[in-house]
Symmetry: C2
Subunit: 360 residues, 2 copies
DNA sequence: CTGAAAGCGCTAACAC
DNA sequence: GTGTTAGCGCTTTCAG
């Protein structure tokens, strides 16, 4: 049984290899650097010896001299939110293939926590990907001054950004809802510190203008199922026939909350989400939502970060924008399906005993 | 606009502080170590100077001498699986409060990937938490020889483990199903490399024995919604009235797959999952499942790891076992509700147009 | 192409 | 308590 009281095994060092291979330590070092600037014959011998001794270059020592740790930080707003899973995967993959290790930081939707965690990791990483950061622009810029930073899902001038085409997504939602006969859309707002939240609302305002659809906003609510349930209560007091939620979790919460109060989705109200998380496909009714290329987001941001770390100037011009698409499921339907029923959509104000009668 | 071509700002070093405060570097060092073994007056002065100079101790350099990086690795089987979210949170929290940073590694359900990633991180971390590792026992033992390791959701002799009370959970499921009149339970198996998978099956065998319930197993399938859907097809060929799935994702996939084929849950078949992920509460019908204290798992494992890193011998006796509880929702029901209907549960072999008629 | 020497920023022995 | 002296394992000048 291993005893970990004392520091772990001393591994073979560069000196051991050097001695064994009859060369100087610096030659061993050179044999392991990128363009192996060593006589290919001795290089081979060195590699053999290293293999035999189980030598592994010590990243810490290397980092101390090169000031490159080969680690990047990936900060996400909330690990509990499934959207980040694919983003993390994309980032990991890109990092891996660039010989980089990823340190994941979960900000738990807290500005304060996020800053603290980044501050701690700062000196240990070569760069940072900020996915859906809740920090202020100025805080982000401050970090960006000390380390390469790429921001995901947010546009900040002077910092390289990767975003999805929110305006286009919202526009598609508005068109879709319009075609179904809705002339009024309620936006259920997420965290105010969230950049896409503001962007989506503004895009909706604009789309409403062009398509002659009235819009309004309620909230903010927490971007969770629970937040959506709370929104349902408020929505119940100020009825609507079509709702766009900040994200899928909120949309799912909305459906649940409304059902509980006897409101039928999509019979009484159509609901649209954002993100296309896996759960969007398993709720009843299936959630109409705007899908983003999550994996690509993580991967693009990370690749961009790596090029910056390697010396590029991070083209800070326009943010890189990734396409989205509208996924239509069952949570959206034509308004007032039965023509004779021109009443308010919220006719049944009393909870029905069983909300399962939505055969429509 | 910052130029990252050259290494980032040289930060103030211990020497700068020493010079400014008129003390030796080692004194500065001492002033920053745990029991600050320095004249409290000069300690204060040093701290002031450090503050003014924006001095931050360089963790890399520190690690080089102490061989303690203050980082641990947390390896999870699949970041896409929501169970890990809370585990990660628990681990992060525990790590944080122990002044440790967590490096998250997503193994993507791949033995190979897992090993590779750990090998890369190995020399950079002081210890490892292996959550639901897919590696062989011997591989794990090998790592455990080089670094402190705590294994989560798996029992391996000679390595400290934290597990949940799978046998008890399964037992409760069997009892519950038995009370509902089921005399036969089908276990839908997950990954064979998964320890809890085998454990749960064996526990079911045993419980079946005692409670006089017949059991059988199908699979293995991938532990995802898709895997569950595939299992549904196989299940359709060999009907059952009660099913225990390896995890919630599979259970949800099962429900979907069965519904699609015209089989009603829980009317025709009762389904139970494992884990109580958030989605278990939002599917229709709500999923009966075995809940584990996810956050506590992550936190316990990590705290244990930290004590080992600090020199304890990792009491390798029995694994630490955490309690579970059965969460009963709508996916389980009494067998053959209408007494006159003593037919096979799979009477409707043709897909029904609408599976919503489950008012039970 | 290779060796020698210096040092990254910090801590750990030792002395005083 | 505090200063002095060596390094941790590697890279990087600078010579040859």
């Amino acid at each position: 049984m291993p005893d970990h009281t004392s520091p772990p095994d001393k591994r073979a060092t560069i000196y051991d290899v050097a001695a064994e291979a009859n060369v100087s330590p610096s030659t061993v070092s050179r044999a392991f650097s990128k363009p192996s600037r060593v006589n290919s014959e001795t290089a081979e011998r060195i590699r053999q010896v290293a293999e035999r001794l189980g030598y592994r270059t010590n990243p810490l020592a290397r980092a101390l001299t090169t000031s490159r740790t080969h680690m990047i930080a990936l900060v996400i707003a909330d690990i509990t939110n499934p959207v980040y899973a694919e983003i993390v995967r994309g980032a990991q993959e890109a990092a891996m293939s660039g010989e980089y290790t990823t340190v994941l930081i979960d900000a738990q939707e807290s500005d304060r926590l996020e800053r603290a965690a980044i501050e701690r990791a700062m000196s240990t990483v070569d760069g940072i990907v900020l996915a859906s950061s809740r920090m202020s622009d100025s805080a982000i810029r401050m970090f960006a001054k000390q380390r390469p930073v790429v921001v995901l899902n947010r546009a900040i001038s002077d910092v390289p950004c990767v975003v999805t085409d929110n305006p286009r997504g919202v526009r598609r939602v508005a068109e879709h809802l319009g075609e179904l006969g809705h002339d009024h859309i309620t936006y259920v707002s997420g965290p105010q510190a969230s950049w896409p939240n503001g962007t989506r609302w503004r895009a909706l305002l604009e789309a409403g203008m062009e398509l002659e659809i009235k819009v309004r906003q309620i909230g903010p609510f927490s971007p969770t199922i629970e937040g959506g349930e709370r929104a349902a209560v408020e929505l119940f007091a100020r009825p609507a026939t079509a709702v766009l939620a900040f994200n899928d979790q909120m949309a799912i919460g909305l459906i649940r909350g409304l059902n509980r109060m006897g409101v039928d989705v999509p019979g009484d109200v159509s609901i649209v989400g954002f993100d296309n998380i896996p759960a969007a496909d398993i709720v009843t009714p299936g959630l109409t939502t705007v899908a983003a290329p999550l994996y690509a987001e993580g991967s693009a941001a990370t690749r961009h970060l790596l090029t910056m770390i390697r010396g590029a100037h991070g083209h800070t011009g326009r943010p890189m924008v990734l396409p989205v698409r509208l996924v239509i499921r069952r949570s959206t339907a034509t308004r007032n399906p039965s023509p004779g029923r021109a009443r308010s959509p919220w006719v049944r104000q009393r909870p029905r005993p069983n909300p399962a009668a939505r055969l429509s």
